[in-house]
């Protein structure tokens, strides 16, 4: 039982990371009707920035907010420079653009930092504390705590502020929002900035576990896709719930299902994606098309 609780808890910790990245995917999906295939790579590059800062003696708790701010600005710049010129292009063009962006960022990181895996510092000790008899590591609890703070802040921004309201309006109804005086194009850019910032947090949280290198996020982003699809690709809350479910499921499958471990855990994520698409394409909280004349 204790081991089971431990597995659930570390599943929640990975789930919190997937949830952050899945939320980033959902934010951009809502802003442009498309998944951003470069989301993981953007997070990876931001993590390298944090790494460089920490290496130069900046404290972790200062490097974290700096990186989040830079990632936010970077997301806006990418939207303005790369995405905006093609925003009216067909979906396939946009897919290719974000895939190209992913390749570009990956190559850039390789060029700047090399492909040698580096260990990324964690501010949380690997020591454990007992919760209901289960040994919970401070590392896991720290990841859960930081992710929770970020997710709550995003929730408050989107649901409780006028700016968040305008961002949601611009994402769902650009034409009607323009007629209300909302600067739609800037709201979409802010959406990219926000997504980039949230994604950066997931990169920084996962780096101490996975080792930092340019391909670090490639499996993480698949779990995040699974989480976003499970939660309903357009639902921020769904992304968070989906992330937690994926994290726990994958972790338990790895621990208890015979033969599922290591890379095969990824197969669990794919199985979940396929099952959701077949059985409930809108996901848990996705929007059903309801419309009245």
């Amino acid at each position: 039982m204790q081991e089971f609780l431990q597995q659930v808890l570390s599943g929640i910790a990975s789930g919190a990371i997937y949830a952050s990245l899945a939320l980033a995917l959902v934010l951009i999906y809502n802003a442009m009707g498309l998944v951003n295939f470069a989301q993981g790579e953007m997070a990876m590059l931001a993590t390298f920035l944090a790494f460089t800062l920490i290496e130069h003696g900046v404290s972790y708790w200062i490097a974290l907010p700096i990186t989040i701010l830079v990632a936010f600005a970077g997301g806006i710049v990418i939207q303005r420079v790369v995405i905006r010129p093609v925003e009216r292009a067909p979906v396939l063009t946009l897919v290719i653009v974000t895939l190209g962006l992913a390749t570009l960022i990956n190559g850039l990181a390789g060029f700047l930092f090399g492909y040698l895996p580096r260990s990324f510092p964690s501010p949380f000790s690997v020591q454990t504390v007992s919760i209901f008899g289960a040994a919970a590591s401070y590392q896991d609890l720290g990841v859960i705590g930081v992710s929770a703070v970020v997710l709550v802040l995003v929730y408050l921004l989107l649901q409780r502020t006028t700016l968040g309201l305008a961002m949601r309006a611009a994402a769902h109804h650009p034409e009607a929002s323009r007629l209300l005086g909302v600067r739609v194009s800037w709201m979409l850019a802010l959406g990219w900035g926000l997504a980039s910032a949230v994604g950066a947090v997931s990169g920084i949280m996962v780096a101490p576990i996975l080792l930092l290198e340019p391909n670090m996020m490639q499996t993480v982003v698949i779990y995040a896709f699974a989480a976003a699809v499970l939660g309903g690709i357009d639902s921020p809350l769904g992304a968070v719930i989906g992330g937690l479910i994926i994290g726990v499921t994958v972790n338990l499958a790895g621990a208890y299902a015979p033969g599922v471990g290591g890379d095969l855990q990824l197969a669990v994520a794919f199985a979940i994606i396929i099952a959701v698409l077949v059985l409930k394409p809108n996901g848990l909280l996705g929007r059903r098309a309801t419309r009245r004349a």
Partner: protein
């Protein structure tokens, strides 16, 4: 000087030209009707005014050219446009829709009073304010769109077929409220309508479009009584 002035406005979508030189004007506090058959260019005229379609010619609002203005900045000058299909944001709640109406306003300037007035016109919106706007009926959505436009405190209100798809009784009450809004706030109204009879009752001046041009214009009271105009253009 007229509040809104269009002179020789041509516009279209891609290769298709819809407006072939529309000229009209709306004075401060006026209610002007824009009539005509389907496809005559009524909606396109409104879309040109708020920058939703490419156009050339002259469009001036309050003496300023709208030539290079974006939709957002035109709205900021004081034009509220309730588009075809009402432009209700169905992803959001009724209250959030109304808050977006007040999006450009600073809190203090009588906003609370305006909310009271809007809920006075449309008490149903107060009851339903926590609900998703997608749950409203067609008439209620039209009320929401009007209420939201009112919170924008516009100088000019562009209404695109407010009667579309609504029961006659609902249409009647919505037109009464449009009249009340015009009278109490001196908001000018440019009203696009298929229902010519109602529109001519409400308006002081009217233009009839035919394939992208103004075919007839004049005082609404006069147009109403001219048999030939009624028969050939207004269809009643």
């Amino acid at each position: 000087m007229a509040l809104l002035e269009l002179d020789g406005v041509r516009a279209g979508y891609g290769q298709t030209r819809v407006l072939h030189g529309v000229s009209l004007s709306v004075g401060e506090g006026d209610v002007v009707a824009l009539l005509g058959a389907n496809g005559a260019g009524k909606t396109t005229t409104l879309r040109a005014i708020t920058g939703g379609v490419r156009w050339d010619g002259i469009i001036n609002f309050g003496g300023r050219s709208l030539r290079r203005a974006t939709t957002e900045s035109i709205v900021r000058m004081g034009i509220a446009h309730v588009p075809e299909g009402r432009g209700v944001l169905t992803e959001l709640t009724v209250e959030e829709n109304l808050r977006l109406g007040a999006y450009l306003r600073r809190g203090g300037d009588g906003l609370a009073k305006d909310y009271d007035r809007v809920f006075g016109y449309f008490p149903i919106l107060r009851e339903r304010r926590k609900l998703s706007a997608s749950t409203l009926s067609g008439g209620e959505q039209q009320m929401l769109a009007l209420a939201r436009a009112l919170l924008m405190k516009p100088k000019l209100l562009l209404l695109d077929e407010p009667s579309l798809g609504l029961a006659p009784l609902v249409v009647r009450s919505i037109f009464d409220i449009i009249r009340a809004i015009n009278e109490s706030d001196r908001v000018a109204v440019l009203l696009v309508e298929q229902n010519a009879r109602l529109a001519l009752e409400l308006s002081t001046h009217a233009y009839v479009l035919e394939v992208g041009r103004v075919a007839v214009e004049g005082e609404s009271a006069k147009l109403k009584t001219e048999e030939s105009v009624r028969r050939s253009y207004l269809g009643y």
